[in-house]
């Protein structure tokens, strides 16, 4: 209130003082109108220009970043497709080497089998039974004009001989057929073998065809990447997003496993490093020690998979010679085994500690429970021990999703950053536009505050030059 009074000319007459102040302020604002307008316009314009400049810079930077991302993404994609093509070629090579290497032997075998089939086929060709000579004899006898008993006897003898010959012929014919059937029967395995060989060749050809198609697809992708098309970039970016999502999901599951792992060894670690030491207000030393053990297991797993060349997180390890790499692999495996053993024994210790505490609480309680030594009490203990041993090995496989996450995160982060920069650039441009308009709005608001002197000014100008003004207005109106 005292402050307000200090602004009043006549503190006793507030209304008059405020009126006087308003009058003075209006005069001042009217006098400073043109410079004030200039200042407002300049400031808004300055802010607008600065914002637009920043937006342009951001857009340019985003474009540069996008180009860099594209280069890295395409290079990574090309490397990936190259390795896939190489793998397909390796498969084709293995198939061709294996199958074509055996082709001379196979061909020889098939030729032998075909020759045998042909020979056997010829052997089993049907031999017509010999033409019975008795037909002609019969017709001769039948043509005898006189004969009587002689002819009858002859015919009877002939019948007997014919019957004998017929029986003999039939028997030989049957024997011959039996022989041919045997030959045909012995042909069956040969046929089957030929059929199998042909089917194998067919299956190999199908595989080869599939490999060739896969190579074609990869080559098409590779060519697109070489051409640096937007489609290939888009495909690779989406693939990176998907890979990051999947690997994150798997890693979350792995984190759950690590948490269970941690819980198994946190309590027994307090037996080793003490339960009353704290690192921070709520972080026990024993918890940190347990966490370190779990992280060491994960690290050993990463090294193991790296030395097995399943992952490629460390170029140093990839470029090691095979002997050294094998040593690292054995070292990682042995350390992992030791850690798994330690964890298994810690899990056993955990069970013993819990049982000990439970026994102590039973001692303190007034009602003594009946001690149980059934199989059910041993199952959790064995389960904990098995989990303690197995979980480190399960955790080792986290290296695979970790590698995928690391590589795809770079792409995803780059894409998100570019999008963010573009969004900020758009927002800045929008702000710049608002500032430009704001200048005019502020000028108009300024004029509203001094509307009275402005009206007076217009009136005076109107009085002084009403005629010439009207004439000039008319002129300009006509001209327009």
């Amino acid at each position: 209130m005292n402050n307000l009074n200090s602004w009043l000319f006549w503190p006793d007459q507030v209304a008059l003082s405020v009126l006087a102040l308003f009058f003075l302020l209006t005069i001042f604002l009217y006098a400073a109108r043109i410079p004030a307008h200039n200042v407002i316009i300049s400031l808004c314009s300055l802010a607008g220009h600065a914002l637009r400049f920043t937006a342009s810079w951001l857009l340019l930077t985003a474009e540069g970043l996008r180009q860099r991302n594209k280069t890295v993404l395409l290079a990574h994609g090309q490397a990936e497709v190259t390795s896939q093509i190489e793998r397909e070629f390796e498969r084709v090579t293995a198939l061709v080497r294996k199958e074509l290497g055996e082709y001379p032997a196979l061909q020889r075998k098939m030729m032998d089998e075909l020759t045998r089939i042909e020979e056997d086929y010829l052997k089993c060709g049907e031999v017509p039974p010999p033409t019975p000579e008795w037909v002609e004899a019969l017709s001769t006898i039948a043509n005898l004009k006189s004969g009587g008993d002689i002819a009858k006897k002859l015919l009877e003898d002939l019948q007997k001989s014919v019957q004998k010959v017929h029986d003999k012929t039939i028997s030989e014919y049957r024997k011959s057929y039996e022989g041919r059937h045997k030959i045909l029967k012995s042909l069956m395995p040969v046929w089957r073998s030929v059929d199998k060989s042909v089917k194998n060749i067919d299956a190999n050809m199908v595989n080869l065809n599939a490999n060739a198609k896969a190579i074609d697809t990869h080559m098409a992708r590779y060519e697109e990447m070489r051409a640096k098309t937007d489609k290939s970039e888009h495909t690779l970016a989406i693939s990176a997003f998907v890979q990051l999502g999947i690997s994150s999901l798997v890693m979350m599951i792995a984190v759950g496993g690590a948490f269970i792992n941690f819980k198994l060894i946190a309590l027994p670690m307090s037996e080793m490093v003490g339960a009353s030491d704290y690192i921070t207000n709520s972080l026990r030393t024993s918890d940190v020690a347990a966490l370190v053990i779990v992280l060491m297991e994960a690290t050993m797993g990463v090294f193991l998979l790296e030395s097995l060349r399943i992952t490629h997180l460390f170029p140093t390890m990839s470029s090691m010679n095979d002997q050294l790499r094998r040593r690292v692999m054995w070292a990682a495996l042995i350390l992992l085994l030791i850690l798994a053993g330690i964890e298994s024994s810690l899990a056993l210790m955990r069970d013993m500690l819990i049982a000990d505490k439970a026994a102590m609480l039973h001692d303190l309680s007034t009602v003594q429970p009946v001690a149980s030594d059934s199989l059910l009490t041993h199952i959790p203990m064995v389960g904990q021990m098995v989990m303690g041993f197995v979980l480190p090995f399960v955790l080792a496989f986290v290296a695979i999703p970790l590698e995928v996450a690391v590589y795809s995160l770079r792409t995803v982060a780059g894409v998100v950053l570019v999008m963010l920069m573009r969004a900020i650039s758009f927002a800045l441009r929008f702000l710049a536009m608002i500032f430009n308009r704001l200048g005019r709005i502020l000028v108009n608001i300024y004029d509203i505050t001094i509307v009275l002197p402005l009206l007076v000014e217009r009136w005076v100008i109107g009085l002084r030059g009403s005629v010439p003004a009207k004439a000039s207005d008319l002129k300009t109106g006509r001209a327009s």
């Binding site: 309590l267 307090s270 037996e271 003490g274 339960a275 009353s276 030491d277 704290y278 690192i279 921070t280 207000n281 972080l283 940190v288 997180l313 460390f314 170029p315 140093t316 013993m352 500690l353 000990d356 505490k357 102590m360 609480l361 001692d363 303190l364 309680s365 690391v406």
Partner: protein
Amino acid sequence: MKFAKYLLVVLLALPLVLSGCADNRSHTNGVYVLIDTSGTYTQQVTKARTIINYLLANLNAGDSLAVAKVESKSFSEKDIIAKVTFDRRPSQANLEKRAFNQKIEAFAKNVKGSAFTDITGGLIQAAEYLNEANPGNKTIIIFSDMQEELGKGTVRDFPIKLTGIRVMAVNVTKLSTDNTDPRRYLDRLAWWEKRVRDAGATDWSVINDLEHLDKVLGNQ
């Protein structure tokens, strides 16, 4: 390669960060239980065991616990029935808890009533023990009717020092005179609260329902 470098830097910096964050404050609990053995209150010793059992079940490795009786003149180490600072290893701490429980059991069987009640002397002795053990949280539990009766020549009308110690009166039974005039009971509690707070105690509370013992170690 860059990632490996960053990982190396982070791993190297981790011990420094952790050592910087190291918390040197003590997070242990120290509890001193004073058990009134005067007159008819001797019969309440069984209830005192409930509290002690609760403490034994809930105190952790590294914590301290002492149980002392309040007699005619209680400013003496002789009145301490059992005291222990539990080992840092939970298994060893469990063994110590069992031994402690046995001592308390023996005391409860052979407890004898005393003519006078020197609560102030017990408080001074408790504060001395807790300050020596120096746990993170210091608590004195007084298991008494809070009726101080001093023998001839015992001087206790001077300011005591209970800085940083939480004091709890448990199972404060009503005397026959309190039943006649409840204001006596309330005035007695108010007097002790004032005395304890003036002595610099961080908190004063009264627990008569032994079903709510979770307050003993909670909210510290």
